[in-house]
């Protein structure tokens, strides 16, 4: 099962838990699974059917702009990070 790293500011919703294994083949599914376990977390991560403004997903070390559709492998780590621009 993929392991989700709970962003520090959201650990109030997870009772301090920092990493959780949840099922899901996409980031969207992973978030749905998280929501089952920690109600309220989805509204913090998403705005409507999209990732919340200012957030991006990193699957292992790969930062992606594909948002909720991003595929997640069973051995993947899922991180929610601020978006990064560049100069």
């Amino acid at each position: 099962m993929p392991v989700v790293f709970i962003p520090t500011p959201m650990r109030d919703l997870t009772d301090g838990v920092t990493e959780v294994n949840v099922t899901g083949n996409t980031v969207g599914e992973v978030i749905d699974a998280l929501e089952q376990r920690f109600p309220g977390i989805k509204s913090r991560l998403c705005r409507g059917d999209k990732l919340a403004p200012g957030l991006q997903v990193s699957i292992d070390a790969t930062m992606t702009l594909r948002g909720l559709r991003t595929a997640v492998a069973p051995a993947s780590e899922v991180h929610f990070l601020p978006t990064i621009g560049g100069g």
């Binding site: 990193s58 292992d60 790969t62 990070l81 601020p82 621009g85």
Partner: protein, 758 residues
């Protein structure tokens, strides 16, 4: 660790990569023929001028343009009211995520309030620049001046003047209960920082402050807009991303993207500052209103006061280590200003502050803070330089306290493949250790520095490579020349680095590819030039394009030889089958002779950003203790380029970034007076380095291949600006024993620090 997207081919003998061909657009640029936006002249063209706020913070009571409009030669005036209603409208814009269109529009033309001196309020189009200038001075704006704030910590206070009455601090989706200038609070925690510090034998904690600095591109923002009667809007502009520009303009004007054509002209520098639109939608509105093409070119003071800058910042950084130098814990508290509107560089700042080191326990807090400055924009590795200025000085001080060589201390704790970053992800293959070893073995580091008030400093830096879409296409001419159209605007020679990757793939010479940057109607979607992505991502597209062309050339050869294309082998541009042999050029010539289908190839990619570039810089300085002036005597920049496609331009990126970083270190700053007015909005008083202020900048290119690119290419553009301020600060400390915790380390500041110590 095996990399998920391993694309690296492991090629050892490159035919084109690593050579230094003359850039394809070079002759145009040394003869004055290259067309930049301000060089575009259209028949019947008008000239636009912006009216800007003289106040740092004020309510707009009224705007009266009647006198200006009555002037002969004046054709149109626009204000924020000319934008469509954008309330609650957001647009998804690539890396920036969802952009608040109301705010983007209000930055182009203020609505209700002005939030910084230089904030655009209205614009006028007239027959020539002089009339436009006079007309602008006749547009009467009545203001109610409000209290203002420009220092980031002041803006965070409870009683600070509020820029946005409805702004509440967002902590990853959780909103604070009262309004504040703090737009965002970020936090990252790894391990247990309290436990970590308990294991430390030595702890160093310092506070750092940095002033706002500007990207300082030499070409001012410019645009020519032509809104035609068929509702097609054509924009010639200086932008880092023609498609990003197109999207912003279309969203702001609420018209379909295909109604907008953006022609990217040659661009005179950007460094992150030419991604957001300023003039483009305004010129478009003026053109629509006047029915004529409108050119707008900023004056230099408008560039300083109305665009850029990068955040001013406060940082508190604490690191703990064991006696043997092992880092055990780190804590950082960062506040970056974002200027007039939320959305600054605090995210990457937090992600970069400890990115060079393997820290078992760490905590990072970051704040994005609104204040009365222009909305901050990206500037080369945005957010990372301020963070490195803090962290790399604390590392330097730890090395001193532990009596360990600063390179050895860094090597002992260096981030490498498998290191978990404080923000979570684990590093893939990276080249920090290799850079540190290159520094250690460099002639510079091994040389002896003698003389009074002289010192040597070293510091490291990190930046990401972002991904994003890139497209290109090409056709093969009869003479074997390949005409390449790519979508990345070329700021520093990327046409050539992309063409070289295509040439390498095809086994032809770089000179046999003729690259051009396409406009938004003539090439597929391509994300902006920035984030150190072009040579990496558009280069990847060029590689794919090469494979496509090669496949088609095989098919044409197969037609000529009447054989199965799969039986043809290709080696260094020579196509062979069963004793037949033709070069790429020979096949190209035979295509029309044999009435074969022309060869036209295409490729589009959307790689993820994952690769990471580390750099290490070394500086020798001399301090004049009587004046506080610092002279940089010698400078070396070391960086992992993955694979240097065109080494001269890789060196150029390293040298240019280092020079900007040295300017940031020593003299550049937004100097605000008591009324929060910038007092040095000119090249004279902003003091970017001239060539008399710098030594030669030596470079050492390290090549640790990027697993996500067939040729191992990493983006190199941004990292070089990260280490310099810390490098210079560490060198100053070595020279005179004073730790400078404030940027710029200008003569008055250093003199003051020296005299206070005495």
């Amino acid at each position: 660790m095996a990399h998920a997207n391993e694309l690296y081919l492991g090629k050892q003998d490159y035919q084109v990569l690593g050579k230094r061909p003359v850039r394809h657009d070079g002759t145009d640029k040394v003869t004055g023929k290259a067309i930049y936006t301000a060089d575009v002249q259209l028949p019947n063209m008008l000239h636009g001028k912006i009216v800007r706020s003289p106040h740092a913070h004020a309510r707009i009571k009224s705007i009266d343009a009647s006198e200006a409009l009555a002037m002969p030669g004046v054709f149109a005036v626009v204000t924020a009211d000319d934008f469509p209603d954008l309330t609650e409208k957001f647009a998804l814009m690539g890396e920036a995520g969802q952009v608040n269109l109301t705010e983007l529009a209000a930055n182009c033309l203020a609505k209700g309030k002005v939030l910084y001196r230089g904030h655009a309020v209205a614009a006028v189009a007239a027959a020539n620049v002089h009339i436009a200038d006079e007309a602008a001075s006749k547009i009467k704006v009545e203001y109610e001046v409000l209290p203002s704030v420009t220092w980031v910590l002041d803006a965070m206070k409870d009683d600070a003047p509020l820029l946005h009455e409805h702004l509440r601090t967002d902590s990853m989706g959780k909103k604070a209960d009262k309004p504040s200038n703090i737009a965002v609070h970020l936090q990252f925690e790894k391990g247990n920082v309290t436990d970590g510090f308990q294991q430390a034998d030595v702890i160093v904690e310092r506070e750092f402050r940095t002033a706002s600095v500007h990207q300082g591109y030499i070409e001012p923002h410019a645009v020519v807009a032509l809104w035609n009667e068929d509702s097609r809007l054509k924009l010639w502009t200086a932008t880092q991303g023609s498609f990003n520009c197109r999207q912003q303009v279309a969203e702001l004007l609420q018209i379909p993207v295909s109604q907008v054509l953006v022609v990217p002209c040659e661009i005179g520098g950007g460094f992150g500052g030419k991604i957001t639109v300023y003039l483009e939608p305004v010129a478009a509105l003026l053109s629509r209103k006047s029915g004529r093409p409108v050119k707008m070119v900023m004056q230099r003071n408008e560039v300083f006061e109305g665009t850029g800058p990068t955040p001013g910042s406060f940082a508190r950084v604490k690191l703990g280590a064991k006696k043997d130098g092992t880092l055990v814990a780190g804590e950082a508290w960062l506040a970056y200003d974002c200027g007039a509107f939320p959305g600054g560089m605090i995210g990457p700042g937090c992600m970069c502050v400890f990115s060079c080191y393997d820290l078992p326990h760490a905590k990072v807090d970051g704040f994005d803070v609104c204040n009365n400055k222009p909305k901050t924009q990206a500037y080369r590795a945005p957010g990372s330089t301020q963070a490195a200025f803090a962290c790399e000085q604390v590392i330097d001080e730890l090395a001193e306290k532990l009596n360990i060589d600063p390179i050895e201390l860094r090597l002992k704790n260096a981030a490498k493949e498998g290191t978990r970053r404080v923000d979570g992800p684990v590093y893939p293959r990276v080249g920090f250790v290799e850079c540190l070893n290159a520094a250690k073995n460099s002639e510079h580091w091994k040389s002896k520095l003698s003389g009074k008030n002289r010192g040597r400093g070293i510091a490291a830096g990190f930046w990401f490579n972002i991904g994003g879409a890139s497209s290109c296409s090409a056709s093969v001419n009869d003479d074997g020349i390949v005409c390449l159209v790519e979508g990345s605007t070329d700021i520093g020679g990327t046409r050539t680095s992309i063409a070289m990757q295509l040439a390498e793939t095809l086994g032809i010479a770089a000179e046999d590819v003729r690259p051009q940057v396409g406009d938004t109607d003539s090439v597929g979607y391509t994300f902006l030039t920035g984030g150190s992505r072009v040579t990496f991502a558009t280069g990847l597209a060029a590689y794919q394009l090469g494979l496509d062309l090669q496949e088609q050339m095989k098919q044409r050869a197969a037609s000529i030889w009447d054989c199965d294309p799969t039986s043809i082998t290709v080696d260094k541009g020579v196509y062979k089958q069963n004793g037949h042999s033709l070069t790429f050029k020979q096949i190209a010539a035979k295509i029309p002779e044999n009435q074969l289908d022309p060869v036209v190839g295409r490729a589009s990619v959307a790689p993820e950003g994952s690769t990471n570039a580390f750099g290490v810089h070394i500086a020798d300085v001399e301090v004049d203790p009587e004046t506080g002036k610092v002279t940089v005597l010698r400078y070396t920049a070391i960086q992992d380029a993955g694979k240097a496609v065109h080494p001269s331009y890789v060196e150029g990126q390293m040298q240019g970034g280092a020079a900007q970083g040295i300017g940031w270190a020593l003299n550049e700053e937004y100097f605000f007076d008591a009324k929060d007015q910038m007092r040095n909005a000119s090249f004279l008083d902003y003091r970017m380095p001239t060539c008399l202020d710098l030594p030669m900048i030596d470079t050492i290119i390290v090549e640790v291949p990027n697993p996500s690119h067939p040729y191992g290419v990493r983006g190199v553009g941004e990292t070089p600006i990260v280490p310099p301020p810390a490098t210079i600060a560490n060198a100053i400390h070595a020279a005179v024993g004073t730790r400078m915790t404030q940027l710029p380390m200008s003569p008055p500041a250093l003199w003051k620090a020296l005299s206070e110590r005495a």
